[in-house]
């Protein structure tokens, strides 16, 4: 009985030492056997794997959030300055881009008009439209070539698409061109399909009236109307427009025919002025 009390007393007195030694030995056992025998300490490892990993994920999540807030909202030093620089750079690039696009378009148009100029059997001079005058009583444009460039009154002005008009006034460096759609304009024409001749008069807006076509003459919707070359102003065979409307005339003798111009003057920027009229007179 006494020895039993002695044992209990000894254990109580040295409980920390005994507990520590037991725990140390258990730890050593885990450390030295853990690599070879996976099943030992499995329960503790399982518990820890379920608590440690979420904690680590939580920390990494917090880190990512803090980093995001820092880089996205707080650490914005120089951003305004960089933004201004980028805006300026963008403006310059946009301007360059527009200029290059314009140059590409100009190049394409000039190439087209030069090709057309080479095909023509007569001499001509390229000019650029520099002004429009589209009053109800006058539809004219101004071109950048004048008497100094060999331009004279009553020369034909054409484009690769067709008739533009004729020169009515010339100064040293510019000229005024009366558009085909002007009320004062008359162009001798021929219907390509039936070879019927007539006169295309300007209607004062953006089209022509095909005059002096008799009721018996063969003209149909969609017929192409070309210059006849009879007036001596326009070369023969230049497109004038397309028949879009045919009605019986008021006098019951001539038809009333509307022709849509081949050339949309709003879209034309470069033209050719035919400088030698004698070469293309109808033979």
């Amino acid at each position: 009985m006494r020895s039993q009390r002695n044992v209990v007393s000894f254990l109580k007195k040295n409980q920390i030492i005994i507990a520590s030694l037991v725990l140390a030995l258990f730890s050593l056992h885990l450390a030295l056997t853990g690599r070879q025998e996976v099943e030992r300490g499995f329960v503790l490892r399982e518990i820890l794997s379920r608590t440690v990993s979420p904690m680590q994920r939580l920390m990494l999540g917090i880190q990512d959030s803090v980093k995001g807030v820092w880089s996205g909202y707080i650490n914005l030093v120089d951003v305004q300055e960089r933004n201004e620089e980028l805006k300026k750079a963008l403006t310059l690039v946009t301007e360059d881009n527009l200029r290059l696009k314009e140059e590409i378009n100009l190049n394409a148009r000039l190439k087209s008009i030069l090709e057309y100029k080479d095909q023509l059997p007569h001499k001509s001079k390229a000019a650029v439209i520099i002004g429009f005058n589209k009053e109800p009583w006058a539809r004219t444009v101004t071109i950048d070539k004048g008497s100094a460039d060999g331009i004279a009154k009553d020369l034909a002005v054409i484009s690769p698409l067709g008739v533009v008009g004729r020169v009515i006034d010339v100064s040293t460096h510019t000229s005024t061109v009366l558009l085909g759609s002007d009320l004062r304009s008359n162009i001798d024409v021929i219907v390509q399909r039936s070879r019927i001749k007539g006169v295309a008069e300007g209607n004062g807006t953006d089209g022509f009236l095909l005059k002096y076509i008799r009721q018996v003459d063969d003209v149909q919707l969609g017929d192409l109307v070309l210059t006849s070359g009879l007036s001596g102003v326009f070369p023969k065979g230049v497109a004038v427009g397309e028949v879009v409307k045919i009605e019986k005339g008021r006098d019951n003798f001539f038809k009333s025919i509307e022709v849509r111009p081949s050339v949309n003057i709003q879209r034309v920027e470069e033209v050719l002025v035919v400088t030698e009229t004698g070469l293309y007179a109808e033979e």
């Binding site: 409980q15 920390i16 030492i17 507990a19 520590s20 030694l21 725990l23 140390a24 258990f26 730890s27 050593l28 056992h29 885990l30 450390a31 030295l32 853990g34 690599r35 300490g41 503790l44 490892r45 820890l48 794997s49 608590t51 440690v52 904690m55 680590q56 939580l58 920390m59 990494l60 917090i62 880190q63």
Partner: protein, 162 residues
Amino acid sequence: MKEFLVFLPITIVYLALKSTILVNLPLPDLPLIIIFYMAYRRPTIEGALMGFVLGYLDDAFNGGIIGTSSFALVLIFLAMHLLAKKVQFSTPAFRAGGVAVVALIKGALTYSVLRFANVGVYFFTHVILMSLVTGILAPGIITLFQRLFSLFGPESFKGKAN
């Protein structure tokens, strides 16, 4: 039990930070400082158990061999318990020196166990650097612990000294 409830979450957060965000920083060995503190302030079975648990957590979070840190911390707790009867760690310098020495001892114990288990470890770069950092920061951390537990009341610890 109160210490367990305070130190366990602190250690878990510390180890989680150490193993994730602050992985490249030389941080003090907080479990060791806690065990040092517990051993000379409140040497009970609870302290020994805490040494085992904190060591286990240390190994689990840092991916070490389970049991090595537990072994070292429990032995350090026992040694400090026996030493505390003769030596009083009453000044910051003593505490710093004491913690640095036990950090070295822990490193040596861990190193021995790992070598015995055929695991390569760099003693000088890992153990000595950790010991220095732990020793330098230990007095401040222990002061923080004391202030923290003073919030729970004057009789929180048996030996209210220092």
